[in-house]
Symmetry: C2
Subunit: 355 residues, 2 copies
DNA sequence: GTGAGAGGTGAGCAAATGCTCGGGCGTGGA
DNA sequence: TCCACGCCCGAGCATTTGCTCACCTCTCAC
């Protein structure tokens, strides 16, 4: 198969690889057995992997999209990205994403962690699926104020309460609206101990779980009564494409300093940047622009979303990055781990996947 | 694919494996990323390999028989076994085996090595293919006496000379016949300085290259005039099935103390046992009994032979050992290296190879 | 309720592995 | 012929990995 290999070399590589991977000898044993230096054996094994004499294949469940996840991580420098299986029904899709988020939290939460939580339908679904293996001494705190037209489970306080119940931890509520009428009113509210204290806890969180909002007329901010359609239209004119915790950003990820930003009660983008792990959960269709904007703002560490948004976001990034790996998730050829001995990276990786 | 895995676990294993093998993270990074202890990650990766979520495949050239080699090593405790590609024509087959032997020597020989060499048509072919990359300060010494009806290239002295020429080393000749008329004559010859010296060098060799002789009427010993057909028939009656360096053994590998053994000039089986690496080269058809006998004598460390003999020897060993691995050499599932977490060995290995 | 056993867990260590770097050798050009 | 360049090689070190062992928890029988 590897045509650029001489017969002699092919035999040697195959022998070494077989002895190493199948028979389980160590490289040192092989070096004695074949009369080579140990580093030489290691270089030859590397070459065997590189030429395809050794093929390491990861058989992933068909419903996972590890390739998309890898592309997302790569494209946006995320610590992690999770693409949930696709569902036709929006509610089912939301639950699927929430399930992924819940699993993720279960893996990552540790006693004593403080988690700042946003509002939103996506975020709100997460607690339902959250079942940690044991009681966690965690604190869940609202990272933003509540919405006037409350349908309970999407309000941050309520979400925190649900989390705390599931985790056996405690909830810290923020008793304030997300947006107040004026900057002056905001400052006076922030001077209240109860409000200031909650925000202080939230700002010191080690983790944040946030949704990503859009700017269409049906977005959470409008539905929940925070904004009128006119206010939102004005934000769009300012270039807004989406928000986290009420902080709007434009397509290039720059925070928009609109009149609205002065009326916001909750963590700022800069507050978020100081939080170690910011987890964004998104499931709704037609959100790629908002997601892109927020990703470009560089506050998100972990992105959990559905397949459709993942593809849309990646598609919008520019031409197909790593199109070679777009094949079925099941077939993942070895790239970075067993890099080419010495060669330009991207290029060469591209050529292996052909094979 | 792995049906005995829960969905959740399958996902986790796939994620870990992908991150480890494809993205090249370390286990420690994964442990942080997934919120697991490092040993846990390592156990999960082990499980991923074991359940087939990760599949390591060695693509060997179709003309190699790495599976047969592994079985030979296993069955007879050999340090190494090399099965040469099959050839229909006996002479072509002999050359193929000799080529393998030559390659093997090239890999193993080091400056200062002393190699004891037997007579025989197989051994005699090796020097023709021997082309070390650089001059080797090696000594090649006859491990047994010569034969009366000399056709030059099968006499040990001549083989040594050819080796020395190719290697740029030196040859030490043994000026004596393989068999003399009586034990008394042998003792007197051994008392000769020239003879004793050569044998002393041979006995102190770090390597021996020997053929394996049969007991049919056309064997080297008869063709070369060492024995008459009658003498050979007598050896057969004593149970002889084959020889190394003129030392005959029976089917169970016991040395035969016949009248002939007292007349032999060359290294004994015990001398051979003291040599670190004894390499046996065999190609002729119909030799499996001789090979088996000699293997059972436990003097051979490395066996180099043709496919037909390899299969015959293994077939005769008892029922198909490791029949699971008898498939094409190209497909070698991982066994020993990534053993089952905790389980009886043979059994479990058998079951992987099914898959 | 209580005790015994099985199974799972992570600290810590020994071995194996990957990698860097200085040095030798061959090749091709002046 | 001699020199420069580049390639390959292996010693030695830092990191990663595999593994052992003591402990902990959970289950089940008594």
């Amino acid at each position: 198969m590897p045509d650029n290999l001489g017969q002699e070399e092919y035999e040697l590589l195959a022998r070494l690889a077989h002895r190493y991977y199948v028979d389980g000898r160590t490289q040192e044993e092989l070096s004695r057995e074949f009369g080579l230096s140990r580093p030489k054996v290691q270089r030859l094994l590397e070459r065997a992997r590189w030429t395809g004499v050794v093929d390491i294949h990861v058989e992933a469940p068909p419903w996972l999209h590890l390739d998309l996840e890898a592309q997302l991580r790569g494209a946006f420098g995320l610590a992690d990205a999770i693409v949930s299986p696709a569902r036709a029904d929006p509610q089912a899709q939301r639950e699927e994403v929430a399930r992924c988020a819940a699993r993720y939290l279960e893996r990552r939460l540790r006693d004593g962690y403080v988690v700042a939580v946003s509002h939103g339908r996506d975020t709100g679904e997460v607690p339902r699926f959250f079942r940690p293996a044991r009681r966690l001494g965690c604190t869940f705190v609202s990272a933003m104020g509540g919405s006037p037209r409350v349908d309970a489970p999407t309000n941050p306080n309520e979400i925190c309460r649900a989390f705390a119940e599931r985790a056996g931890g405690r909830a810290v509520s923020l008793f304030a609206p997300a947006y107040v009428e004026s900057a002056e009113m905001r400052d006076r509210l922030l001077a209240q101990d109860a409000v200031a204290e909650a925000l202080r806890v939230a700002a010191a969180a080690s983790m944040a779980l946030v949704g990503i909002g859009g700017t269409d007329d049906d977005c959470t901010m409008v539905r929940s009564g925070c904004f009128s359609a006119e206010e939102l239209a004005r934000l769009r004119r300012w270039g807004a494409v989406g928000d986290v915790l009420g902080n709007y950003v434009d397509a290039r990820g720059r925070v928009i300093a609109s009149p609205e930003s002065g009326r916001l009660i909750g963590l700022s983008i800069d507050d978020l940047r100081r939080i170690e792990t910011v987890i964004a959960v998104v499931s709704e269709a037609e959100k790629p622009k908002a997601i892109l904007g927020v990703l470009r703002a560089g506050v998100v560490d972990v992105l959990i979303l559905d397949e459709g948004n993942a593809r849309a976001v990646l598609g919008a990034t520019g031409e197909d990055r790593g199109s070679g790996t777009t094949r079925g998730a099941g077939t993942a050829r070895v790239t970075r781990r067993w890099e080419a001995p010495r060669a330009g990276t991207k290029e060469v990786v591209g050529s292996t996947t052909v094979r």
